[in-house]
Amino acid sequence: MLQAYFESIKYVGHLLPMSFLRIFLGYFYLDLVFKDWKSFILGVGGYSDIFVEALNKAQIPAWYRLLLSEQIIPHWQVYAFIIIGLQLAVGVSYIIGYVVRPISILAVFLCLNYLMIYPAEREIFFKLCIACHAILAWAGAGRCLGIDYYFYKRRRGLWW
């Protein structure tokens, strides 16, 4: 597997810049996990700020506001745990280059969620992130400097 990992540079080297982007995004998501773990799970810092800001955001769609106030906020610990889990899944997947394609689609949904919740000035950043995830999924970025290449060699298909 390790051999395949480095061998990928030789055979799919054209994807190398994409892999660097993937690894950077992976690092970004892991960093997010550590921050969110501290504030949401350990309760250090203002974890409620995000919900309060979201509820006061003017551009939030009515259905999402309802979902937020009726479902997410009353059970925010469960949702926070799921979101952190998904962020960890994206972070680890991007860094090791494993199941990158399906994980990128998951990451797009995560970003859509951030788009709703976070203040309007951060929208452009998350839109850019969505574009990055879509490109990673499209290119199959896990096939270069990633474990996906090992599986791709043995069993071609859309998943790698």
């Binding site: 203002g46 409620s48 700020d49 006061n56 889990g85 899944a89 680890v92 998943w159």
Partner: protein, 344 residues
């Protein structure tokens, strides 16, 4: 697909394991620290916060940590949402409207106050609230440059044609001074006349800024001739900018008073220390700092003596009181309707 599912299950299993073994990392609350929620202008290095913190920490074993709040409504929502896990020990900057409009969303602790405090006569009507303690106040009026040719002696004078588009006001939905102005109009005139006045005022206003600072910025940039602000604003210019070019206008109608209160949420963690901090705010030493850095009047007697604040004229003011929240909402709704129909 199998790989993906196994991977997700594995990630959540690891996370669950870490979660159940997190031990005592959570809720490690420092019992020697109080968290004080205050506005940006209070906690800024040029505000009274840092100096008050330094003196309080010297006098007590407790440390003070300021948490900046941008909006009182959001701060109260935050405390309400966090409930028992909220770190807020003291909330500063609650005005008389916040108390009736939103403070009831959370429970507040009764404050054991120093009974020897003599509040200034302007605010005694609201100084004996069990759960909120006033720590500064100021009458509000229009501030102008001394070179302004118009002779303004009443609210009606603000409707002169030469002042059209020359007055900076605040939005009463988002700004406390904006709400003060609105309440002032409804208190000064009968309802019908107040509505007519507000309609005429729409033409006079340059804009309705979301905050006091935005409106004051327009005035400072000479985009407007008048701004609704605190009567202490000219003192700020005198001390900080060494200019005596500004004046606060006295109208025939008594001026409204803005009072700022401190409160302790019932979910406080270091409640006794929070009480000590609030009582410290009422000490002559702290009052002097608040007065000179926040540019507001002290709530206790004899603090402003021999300071530039002593030179501020004693204005005729409206008695400060707590309004019915429904009344305030009604007035805001009237303003919103007028703004929708008359606003540019």
């Amino acid at each position: 697909m199998k790989h993906f599912v196994v991977y997700i299950v594995l990630i959540f299993s690891v996370l669950m394991t870490v979660y159940y073994n997190r031990g005592d990392q959570a809720k490690n609350i420092d019992d020697k620290k109080i968290h004080v929620y205050a506005s940006a202008s209070f906690v800024a290095k040029w505000g009274p916060g840092p100096e008050l913190k330094e003196i309080f920490e010297k006098q007590n074993i407790f440390k003070v940590e300021f948490v900046e709040i941008s909006d009182m409504n959001m701060a109260i929502q935050k405390i309400n949402f966090e409930n028992e896990s909220s770190l807020a020990d003291v909330v500063l900057g609650i005005d008389q409207f916040d108390i009736v409009r939103m403070a009831n969303k959370i429970k507040w602790r009764d404050i054991d106050r120093n009974s020897a405090i003599n509040f200034v006569s302007d605010i005694t009507a609201v100084a004996h609230e069990k759960t909120f303690l006033p720590y500064d106040f100021a009458p509000m009026s229009f501030i102008a440059n001394k070179s302004l040719q118009n002779n303004i002696t009443s609210l009606k004078d603000l409707l002169k044609p030469e002042l059209q588009g020359k007055i900076a006001l605040q939005d009463p939905r988002t700004s406390s001074p904006g709400l003060q102005f609105l309440v002032w109009i409804f208190e000064a005139y009968p309802a019908d006349e107040a509505i007519r006045y507000l309609k005429s005022m729409m033409k006079q206003a340059h804009s309705f800024s979301p905050s006091w600072s935005a409106a004051y910025g327009l005035f400072k940039n000479n985009q407007v001739d008048l701004v609704f602000s605190y009567v202490t604003s000219p003192v700020y210019h005198l001390i900080e900018e060494k200019t005596a070019n500004y004046l606060s206008i006295e109208t025939q109608e008594p001026l409204p008073l803005q009072v700022e209160f401190a409160g302790i949420p019932a979910t406080c963690k270091n409640c006794e220390a929070a009480e000590m901090f609030i009582n410290f705010l009422l000490s002559p030493e702290a009052q002097k700092i608040i007065m000179s850095k926040n540019y507001m009047m002290p709530v206790i007697d004899r603090v402003k003596e021999a300071t530039p604040f002593d030179a501020i004229k004693v204005y005729k003011t409206r008695p400060v009181k707590f309004y019915e929240p429904t009344k305030i909402e009604k007035w805001i709704n009237v303003w919103t309707e007028i703004r929708k129909n008359e606003g540019i």
